[in-house]
Amino acid sequence: MVCHSPDQLLRARAAVSFARAALKAGHQLETIFFYQAAAAIGLATAQISSDDYDPRRAWQELATEHELRLLICVGSAQRRGVVEESLASGFAITGLGQWLAAMASADRVLRFP
């Protein structure tokens, strides 16, 4: 569960590279759930300076390589203007029920605030 805003670059990189390292170590990772300010990571209309670390692209690349689901909580998305039309590719909007289901089947849940 990722909760930080897209402009908190240290936190964003920590989440992406933890996920990448966990997959490399053979751990199973199926769902990344974007909650609170992290919903804005899935905003296609946000322009990121080409010099800066880009959390949106970093997640998209990791998701493509490892068939991860990038799920944005619908409540968080609505508050921040993330709608189907402005959704970045690779991301999907979903309800908290999906998060509960992921919790029920997971051994552990990690939050990246």
Binding site: M1, Y35, Q36, A37, G75, S76, R79, L96, G97, W99, L100, M103, A104, S105, A106, D107, R108, V109, R111
Partner: protein, 119 residues
């Protein structure tokens, strides 16, 4: 490793009521878990204890008491507030909006030990 469902989930409220949407969105998470009958413990830590302050007048900005009341209605009973934070913000346990147990750091740690995760 055992599944998460074996033990209660802990949710920690660490931010004040109007410090962004954090408190509001964590309450939504708590409500979703409680509605699904997931065993749940709530922790109010640091500035988060302010969420428990009983308001003198109704706040025009955002209405928290309703959501907190619903959690109690859903049967969430494990509600803890950090004693040192209550003191720092001059809050008495009797003045809280919902009934919470004031706990020391040692008690907080013991409560953490019972959880499958604390987030």
């Amino acid at each position: 490793m055992t599944g998460l469902a074996a033990k209660p989930v802990g949710l920690a409220f660490c931010r004040g009521p109007h410090d962004g949407a954090d408190a509001r969105e964590r309450l939504d998470l708590a409500l979703a878990l409680a509605a699904a009958d997931w065993p749940l413990s709530l922790f109010f830590l640091g500035p988060g204890v302010q969420l428990l302050r009983r308001p003198a007048v109704t706040d025009e900005l955002r209405d928290f008491p309703a959501a907190l009341g619903t959690l109690v209605m859903f049967g969430v009973e494990q509600i803890f507030a950090e004693a040192s934070a209550l003191e720092r913000y001059e809050l008495a346990v009797d003045d809280l909006r919902i009934s919470a147990k004031a706990i020391s750091s040692a008690e907080l740690r013991s409560a953490m030990d019972e959880l499958s995760c604390l987030t």
